[in-house]
């Protein structure tokens, strides 16, 4: 188990295959991060919307109690 490249620049260049390898990894990790983050964001949006609705419902309730 040893670092296979002479230098960091070498590591990035990968004997000319760098662009291919790094592009693949970049795309893959972008997708993985999207997969992970999107449900979290969706949940956040959902909670926000739900809280808004709860407030609305409460406002409605107190209003209708007043009129009755």
């Amino acid at each position: 188990m040893k670092f296979q490249f002479e230098s960091i620049a070498d590591f990035i260049a990968m004997n000319g295959h760098g662009p291919y390898v790094w592009a693949s990894y970049a795309i893959t990790f972008a997708v993985l991060i999207f997969l992970l983050v999107s449900p979290l964001l969706q949940k956040k949006a959902f909670v926000k919307q739900q809280i808004k609705q709860q407030k609305l419902a409460q406002a409605n309730n107190s209003a209708s109690e007043l009129t009755e």
Binding site: Q4, F11, M14, V21, A23, T28, V31, S38, Q42, V47
Partner: protein
């Protein structure tokens, strides 16, 4: 007893609450595995004597391809369970699995395509496996399109479950046909490096990554299903309470 458990599994609330403690474990494990394997594969695994460094793409390409295929079966089987036992939860799993699977298929296609350029000198080749993967991608797209096309949720669930089942019956047929078609034409192009030739020093990071991807898939599927559960049960008391408590904590 077993049946009781099975039916409780059908309860979204039970599922939601039971899986909450799993999430941090799954997240930690999957991130650890994937990062380890990526570093290992990119920096420490030896270069392939024929393909040089470009082969390092294998560490994401193959796990993505595995999960893409497995994901279809997971989706179809949950659809079948939902249809047969008339449970809600499996439909939510099925619905969440479709975009994940499609994206993983996409990843495997794109990484494979990028890999092709330095190895075959071309972006695309009508190889049997590649072609099958493309068709799998279409099957996923069909699932997603059908799901979104319906406005009534119940109908969307059941209809896409039927499609997933039909697709599942067809996948082996499609694979065999494409394989046969490809051997018929005997393309003179390079074959994939055969499995046996892969050196253990290259194999271990791959295995690590495959396991990492499986755990990651489970995590993401869970997260998506949980959001779906919340959306569908948004009128129930328990979700309301859950929202209130998060609201107070925030």
């Amino acid at each position: 007893m077993a049946w009781q458990w099975f039916h409780r599994l059908g309860s979204p609330r039970w599922f939601y609450e039971k899986t909450t403690p799993w999430l941090p474990w799954l997240a930690t494990l999957s991130i650890a595995l994937i990062v380890t394997a990526a570093v290992w594969g990119l920096a420490f695994a030896p270069a392939d004597f024929k393909q040089g460094n470009s082969y390092r793409i294998i560490y994401i390409h193959v796990p993505a391809a595995f999960l893409a295929l497995a994901g279809y079966y997971i989706m179809a089987i949950s659809g079948a369970v939902g249809l047969i036992w008339k449970m809600k939860l499996p439909f939510m799993v099925m619905k969440s699995a479709a975009p994940i699977g499609a994206l993983l298929t996409f990843v495997s296609l794109v990484t494979g395509s990028i890999w092709g350029k330095p190895t075959w000198g071309t972006w695309w080749e009508w190889d049997a496996r590649i072609t099958s993967m493309l068709i799998l991608f279409f099957l996923y797209l069909g699932m997603i399109a059908l799901q979104q096309a319906f406005q009534h949720r119940d109908t969307a669930d059941k209809a896409s479950a039927v499609l997933a089942l039909v697709g599942m019956v067809n996948i082996p047929i499609i694979y065999k046909s494409v394989d046969w078609w490809n051997t018929l034409h005997q393309p003179a192009t390079i074959k994939f490096t055969s499995k046996s030739s892969i050196d253990p020093s290259m194999l271990y990071p791959l295995l690590t990554m495959v396991i990492g991807f499986y755990v990651f898939y489970a995590l993401v599927l869970l997260l998506n299903t949980r959001v779906e559960i919340l959306r569908r049960e948004n009128r129930t008391q328990w979700v309301n309470d859950l929202i209130s408590t998060t609201n107070k904590r925030a």
